[in-house]
């Protein structure tokens, strides 16, 4: 019945440089297969961190370990100093939101409803409130809608609010997933291949979008195979190969690292190709 559902600007009060995410020694085994092996990774507030690596390197699995979809076989994950709970909905409530590599929108809900679902953790109206429909309910609902529309505006989907999400083109579905994730007012956003299937213009627009998200005070951890996107965007890049972290450092360090070139990039990355 609490009604303070929108903390409008929602900039998380994390001073720059503070560690938001701290994953230590994370290992994930599926039977005999070790998909992620002793990976350490930190993300500080105000940072955009990239996670790259060949197919099957364990990037998505690592994300799943961070968000409670999998419980890591070993290791621990801290968010702002506190160990993360093992359930994915609690992780979201704690402040980590994510998108999925293979888009997982609520296909038969409208664009607006998708974002409203994202606000679930930041609203409290239960069944009774919905049945009785007191003034508090209407206020909370209106506030939620306003916030959701703001976010749709932010990603550029406001005019499609009443469309079914399944009918959106691919690129817009990815944007909607980002808006939905942002609706939970995260301190850290995990993006799993946000530009997969996008054309160059859309990719560029997504770059701008990620910068804007960072400027809102949200730290970003992003998986991507588009190297130009990663190296333009990221303050730091970690390379995962066969479940192990090979290198971590600034864009320049990583793209010149011989091991990374051998294992993943194939040839030295040209900034102006």
């Amino acid at each position: 019945m609490t009604t303070d559902t929108t903390t409008a600007g929602q900039a998380p009060d994390t001073p720059a440089g503070q560690t938001v995410l701290d994953a230590r020694n994370v290992t994930m085994r599926f039977g005999g297969l070790t998909a992620v092996r002793s990976v350490d990774l930190t993300v500080n507030s105000g940072e955009i961190v990239g996670l790259i690596g060949p197919n099957g390197a364990g990037k998505t699995t690592f994300f799943n370990c961070l968000t409670g979809l999998y419980t890591p076989t070993e290791g621990e994950v801290r968010y702002k100093g506190a160990i993360l709970p093992a359930k994915s909905f609690k992780v979201t409530a704690a402040g980590i939101a994510r998108t999925f590599q293979n888009i997982r929108l609520f296909a038969n809900m409208t664009v607006l409803e998708n974002v409203l679902v994202g606000r679930h953790t930041r609203t409290k109206e239960g069944l009774w409130s919905a049945l009785l429909r007191g003034p508090g309910f209407h206020r909370a609902e209106a506030a939620s809608k306003a916030r959701a529309m703001e976010l749709l505006e932010f990603v550029g989907l406001a005019d499609k609010a009443e469309h079914l999400s399944r009918n959106l083109p691919y690129g817009e579905q990815r944007k909607l997933e980002i808006a939905r994730a942002l609706a939970s007012e995260p301190g850290l956003l995990l993006l799993d291949e946000p530009t997969a299937g996008m054309n160059p213009q859309e990719t560029r627009a997504t770059e701008e979008l990620v910068f804007a998200i960072r400027d809102m005070g949200i730290a970003v951890l992003v998986i991507e195979h588009d190297m130009r996107f990663i190296f333009n965007l990221c303050d730091r890049v970690a390379v995962l190969v066969q479940g192990e972290k090979l290198v971590e450092g600034s864009s320049e360090t990583v793209q010149q690292d011989d091991r990374v070139i051998a294992a993943y990039l194939g040839e030295p990355f040209e900034e102006n190709n």
């Binding site: 909905f89 038969n108 809900m109």
Partner: protein, 613 residues
């Protein structure tokens, strides 16, 4: 699919040059036939169809279309359909969708109704000699109209030419498939353009008219006294509804109702409340109250199945728990407890008991994903019935009185109003069942409101999100278990609420009323069928579905042992041809029919204003 991949030019679909009809008759004469046939059908309805009054409905009278409520018969329907097929063509405004497709359905409806009646007359009375000229006119007129309508040109769907290299069998199959596509195309209609916004009061008038028509059709159906009449009624309603849908009128109506949701709800409530006044016999109020109980429980189940996507195969047990709990505290001499609580308290006991059972069943199973819930609920339903059956003091504790049940539940008395007595409202005699009908209608209204309000809220969106993609819903911060448990317990409590009234209506609560499958609704299988048939996730869907599923077995007693078979067959056909149900949630309709769009065609832009009907 195998045939058109062999050579490149076989993959290219080809379109007919000029649109033609199914039958090779030029457009002009075809239209004349359709129109003339329609007019003649109307005339035939004023003639005598047979010489003897022995055939149900008395079709002997000249010069009077039987529209009188006292003696309704087929000719009234034929007239209506004849008029429809005649009238619909001229009035473009009435048919925003596809006029010719609607005309085809109307002609088909008139044809089947008339021919069915005539055949029934002939077989009942022993030979064609029993038909009077009016009957022959009707037969010829409807046939002419149908022929004309089928010959009208339509946009042929894409077909693929036969691959000459295929085997003869493959070629035959391919031709058959093409034929079927073309045939289906003849009855297809374009999506009608969204309706213009009319002045509010006109839209409301349209809704009122539609509701009144609905009440009229329903009253007529419930009052049909012969199998033949009821079958004729079903045929006419089915084709008539299809014609209206093809004409785009149904879509328009649902757009209007979406705009005036409260008015519609109030209107529907009033129309339903008017039902007992249209009946002189309490017998029909009995049917009415049983339909309401069935429909209300189905709507409760729709929260669980339609919104939250939880398959509950033992839902009727919650109705039973409510009925048993309420009956035990309502002063029945067979109850182990010697208490007689007032009705409001009995309601709390009934709904509360179901709620507790809902939580007890749900808590351990809802943590699991997949089909476990279906199996556990199926088991629970049977366990409940068996326990109730055996708690008779002989094979178990003496609680439920075994198969004799809790009997002689006294009639309700609320504020001095005795539900067992006949009262007179506005000069109309309102009997016992009509009293309960009004009470049950109130309960239905409550359940409708609960459904609507919970569905359109944070918790309702969470249910739908879980149904759509549980992993994503969890990742959005939804506590899946908790939210599902709320849906499950709410559904159970609503069933218990209905059970409280049911116990009083039926006087006696026995275990046999609460089976998984039975020829008499409500039972778990029929409840689920009502939801699926009507349309998952909608309010009106389960109500309509329940009404149909109650009326059809009730009226078609001759089906006897084949009832469940017929029921199964009907469900299979429905799932094949209209998986989204009779009154689809607009989202679902898209979901199921997007695949049928032609390649390259984009789905129609869908702008949803509200959560659907």
């Amino acid at each position: 699919m195998t045939t058109h991949t062999t050579a490149a030019d076989h993959t290219r679909p080809h379109k007919e040059d000029a649109p033609t009809g199914l039958l090779p008759i030029p457009t002009g004469p075809a239209r004349a036939m359709a129109t003339g046939g329609g007019a003649l059908t109307v005339i035939s309805a004023f003639l005598a169809w047979t010489w003897t009054a022995a055939f149900p409905g008395d079709l002997t009278v000249y010069g009077y279309p039987g529209g009188l409520p006292a003696r309704p018969h087929h000719r009234a329907l034929t007239t209506l359909l004849g008029l429809a097929s005649y009238g619909i063509k001229g009035l473009r405004a009435l048919t925003p969708g596809n006029a010719d497709a609607a005309l085809r359905y109307a002609a088909l409806a008139a044809f089947t109704t008339a021919w069915y009646t005539l055949l029934a007359i002939s077989t009942d009375l022993g030979g064609l000699a029993n038909l009077e000229p009016g009957g022959w006119v009707a037969a010829i007129a409807t046939l002419t109209a149908l022929t004309g309508a089928l010959a009208l040109p339509f946009n042929r769907p894409q077909t693929y030419p036969v691959d000459p290299e295929d085997t003869g069998w493959e070629q035959t199959r391919h031709r058959l498939r093409n034929g079927l596509t073309v045939f289906k195309g003849a009855f297809a209609a374009d999506t009608p353009p969204p309706p213009r916004t009319l002045p509010s009061y006109i839209e409301i008038l349209i809704i009122v008219a539609a509701l009144a028509t609905g009440l009229l059709v329903f009253t007529y159906g419930i009052g049909t006294e012969y199998d033949e009449l009821f079958i004729g009624f079903l045929i006419s309603v089915a084709f008539g509804f299809a014609a209206l849908a093809k004409a785009g009128l149904v879509a328009h109506l649902s757009a209007y109702t979406a705009r005036h949701r409260n008015t519609t709800l109030l209107g529907a409530f009033l129309a339903a409340a008017a039902f007992p006044f249209t009946q002189s016999d309490d017998q029909y109020a009995t049917i009415g109250v049983y339909i309401l109980i069935f429909a209300t429980v189905a709507l409760g189940l729709n929260i669980v199945v339609g919104l939250a996507g939880l398959l509950d195969l033992g839902y009727v047990a919650f109705l039973g728990v409510g009925a048993y709990a309420a009956s035990m505290v309502s002063g029945s001499p067979a109850s182990p407890f010697d208490i007689h609580l007032p009705f409001w308290a009995a309601i709390l006991v009934g709904a509360g008991a179901s709620l507790i059972f809902g939580v007890l069943i749900g808590a351990p199973t809802l943590r699991l994903r997949g089909d476990y819930l279906a199996i556990v609920t199926l088991g629970f339903g049977e366990i409940f019935r068996l326990v109730a059956m055996n708690s008779d003091g002989a094979s178990g504790p003496d609680i439920t009185n075994g198969s004799n049940g809790i009997s002689s539940i006294p009639n309700l008395k609320i504020l001095g109003f005795d539900f067992g007595l006949e009262h007179s409202i506005l000069g109309f005699p309102i009997g016992r069942f009509a009293n309960y009908f009004f009470l049950m209608l109130l309960i239905t209204l409550i359940v409708v409101l609960v459904f609507r309000r919970s569905g359109d809220s944070r918790i309702g969106r969470a249910w739908v999100a879980i149904r759509e993609d549980e992993t994503a819903a969890l990742a959005m911060g939804i506590n899946g278990f908790r939210v599902k448990l709320i849906a499950f317990a709410l559904g159970a409590a609503l069933a218990g609420l209905a059970g409280t009234v049911q116990a009083h209506v039926t006087y006696t609560v026995t275990p046999e009323q609460y089976q998984f499958a039975n020829t008499v609704p409500p039972n778990s299988a029929f409840l689920l069928a009502a939801v699926v048939l009507g349309g998952m996730g909608t309010i009106s869907g389960p109500l309509v579905g329940a009404a149909l599923l109650y009326l059809i077995p009730n009226k078609l007693a001759f089906l006897g042992d084949y009832q469940l078979f017929a029921f199964g067959l009907a469900l299979v056909l429905l799932m094949r041809f209209r998986p989204e149900g009779l009154i689809p949630n607009r989202r679902r309709q898209l979901e199921f029919h997007e695949a049928e769009l032609e390649p390259g065609e984009t789905p129609p832009p869908t702008v949803l204003s509200k959560t659907g009907a």
